[in-house]
């Protein structure tokens, strides 16, 4: 079944659905940018960039609320069914994930500011870079899959989360050895750990977005390990 949201008898309905999808993807673009900036700020000890990330956070919150209201109006006016209903629901759910990702990015930005204040070059930046790249790719792929209603790509992206989780656990173990080696570095390394933790969470949210792609296209809810709901894949 192909997804067409531009063939309703009501043109207004087409436009409404199109516009919440666009709003959500715009929001996704902002959030992806925010994650990239936060990681850069951390890596380059750029507190100015970090401040900018914190500033954008408010804009994202505002957009999430606007999107919610828009979706509520569509439900009230159009009583969407089937794919339309799934479209509206998935958009609102993804918006929530995006907002959470924004929150995590803000946390990273706050860590960046804290680390900058404490001095440069803590250990663990390599790990951060590595995981950050993987997570950013996941987020971009997830949004891309949503744009193209591409279930295969969403499933592939979803699988990447496991690797990220593994990388995260490895990094944590490594940072623990750092702390054991040099107890004075503990406070700084914990900041790095928090950032890693945020990145891992962002990966989880990207995974959620992929699940919503599957829900939108196939109508199957595969959250919380219910992949079997997606038949014949």
């Amino acid at each position: 079944m192909e997804m067409h949201f531009d063939q309703h008898i009501s043109r207004q309905f087409n436009e409404d659905l199109e516009s919440i999808k666009t709003e959500m993807l715009e929001m996704g673009g902002m959030v992806a940018r925010q994650v990239a900036d936060a990681v850069d700020a951390l890596a380059n000890a750029d507190s100015e960039l970090a401040e900018k990330v914190l500033h954008i956070e408010e804009e994202i919150d505002r957009r999430e609320m606007a999107l919610d209201e828009h979706a509520t109006l569509i439900i009230a006016k159009r009583q969407p069914a089937a794919s339309d209903l799934r479209m509206v629901l998935s958009v609102t759910r993804i918006a929530r994930d995006l907002e959470r990702i924004g929150d995590e990015a803000s946390k990273i930005a706050k860590m960046a500011i804290a680390l900058t204040d404490e001095g440069t070059s803590p250990r663990g930046y390599t790990e951060i870079r590595h995981i950050a790249n993987a997570v950013r790719k996941m987020l971009n792929d997830a949004l891309d899959a949503y744009t193209r209603f591409d279930v295969a790509s969403a499933m592939a992206t979803l699988a990447e989360d496991e690797q990220v989780d593994m990388d995260y656990r490895t990094a944590v173990r490594e940072l623990i050895t750092y702390m054991m080696e040099d107890p004075r570095s503990i406070s700084r390394v914990i900041n790095v750990l928090w950032s890693l933790r945020s990145l891992e969470r962002i990966g989880d949210h990207a995974k959620n977005i992929c699940e919503q792609v599957v829900y939108l296209v196939e109508g199957a809810d595969i959250r919380h390990g219910h992949e079997k709901n997606l038949k014949n894949f």
């Binding site: 309703h8 309905f13 069914a81 089937a82 794919s83 209903l85 799934r86 279930v151 296209v217 014949n232």
Partner: protein
């Protein structure tokens, strides 16, 4: 999605209706067979390969469907898709239409509905009907409800008849509104009350199946909500088949939903499935308003 084929039959019963090998006019989609779950274990009404003709024109193409005991099955579809025609086959109301011919096996509790030896009078007593426009007889409220029991000789004494009338009106949720004016004409009630009177009239002969042909299309939302509530209550004792133009209504009152398209039964599925994730693209297109 294009890479996938949905094979709903895998989860339905192994028996499948015969394939329909005709092009559906007006769309590029070929309706070959009904997808979803057209059959059930405890079928009250069983229809197999039903074809209905109006003279030369075929109105229903090879429809197979079960309606289960104490189940509400909703039939939806665009105007002229044959859903009303199909509904009216179930108590042979099509008999009165000149040139209408019904083929296929239809049975109620495994007894045939059509056939030379079948008497329609007891059949219609078992399969009651509620129509689109509330059509109470131009008689008193009491006489409206008492009519069925009277002609079928159900009540022998006046007291018995009184009891049937009261019970029927109570079950139709109308008793409290009309108990003081049973001798007033039924046509003097409001539209919603008239429709509930018609339902009371239908259940007065204790039918097993109630057919409803767009019962709320002439009613306001409050009256509609009352009828829908009533349908839900009636489900405990009756099997109900309802044709409706309101998809929300189908979603609210039914357990299974059947989607008709140009005389073909395209999809039958659990109502939740039909309204969240229909399996046939024609169903999807219809319920999301993508037709035309």
């Amino acid at each position: 999605m294009n890479t996938m084929t949905l094979d709903a039959a895998g989860q339905a019963e192994p028996v499948q209706p015969k394939a329909v090998e005709q092009d559906t006019v007006g769309t590029q989609t070929k309706v070959r067979e009904t997808v979803g779950k057209p059959f059930c274990d405890s079928a009250k009404l069983r229809m197999r390969n039903v074809n209905v003709f109006y003279g030369e024109a075929q109105a229903i193409h090879d429809v197979s469907l079960d309606i289960g005991r104490n189940e509400v099955v909703a039939m939806i579809g665009p105007s002229g898709c044959g859903k009303s025609t199909f509904l009216r086959c179930l108590n042979r109301m099509n008999d009165t239409i000149e040139g209408c011919r019904v083929e296929g096996e239809l049975s109620l509790d495994d007894e045939p509905i059509y056939g030379a030896k079948v008497d329609v009078v007891p059949l219609r007593a078992r399969v009651g009907m509620v129509f689109q426009k509330p059509n109470p007889f131009p008689k008193s409220i009491y006489d409206n409800v008492a009519y069925g029991p009277k002609i079928h000789g159900i009540a022998s004494r006046r007291a018995e008849l009184d009891e049937i009338v009261e019970n029927s009106l109570r079950r139709a949720g109308l008793w409290n509104e009309v108990k003081d004016r049973l001798d007033k004409p039924g046509t003097g009630l409001s539209g919603g009350q008239q429709q509930r009177l018609c339902i009371a009239r239908a259940i007065a002969v204790s039918p097993e199946v109630i057919l409803m042909d767009e019962p709320c299309s002439a009613l306001d939302p409050i009256a509609t909500a009352r009828i829908e509530e009533l349908i839900d209550e009636l489900r405990e004792n009756y099997t109900i088949a309802i044709v409706t133009h309101s998809m929300q209504q189908a979603a609210r009152v039914s357990q299974r939903t059947a989607y008709f398209h140009l005389g073909h039964l395209v999809e039958v599925n659990d109502t939740e499935t039909v309204f969240t994730n229909p399996q046939h693209e024609l169903t999807e297109a219809y319920i999301t308003g993508r037709f035309g």
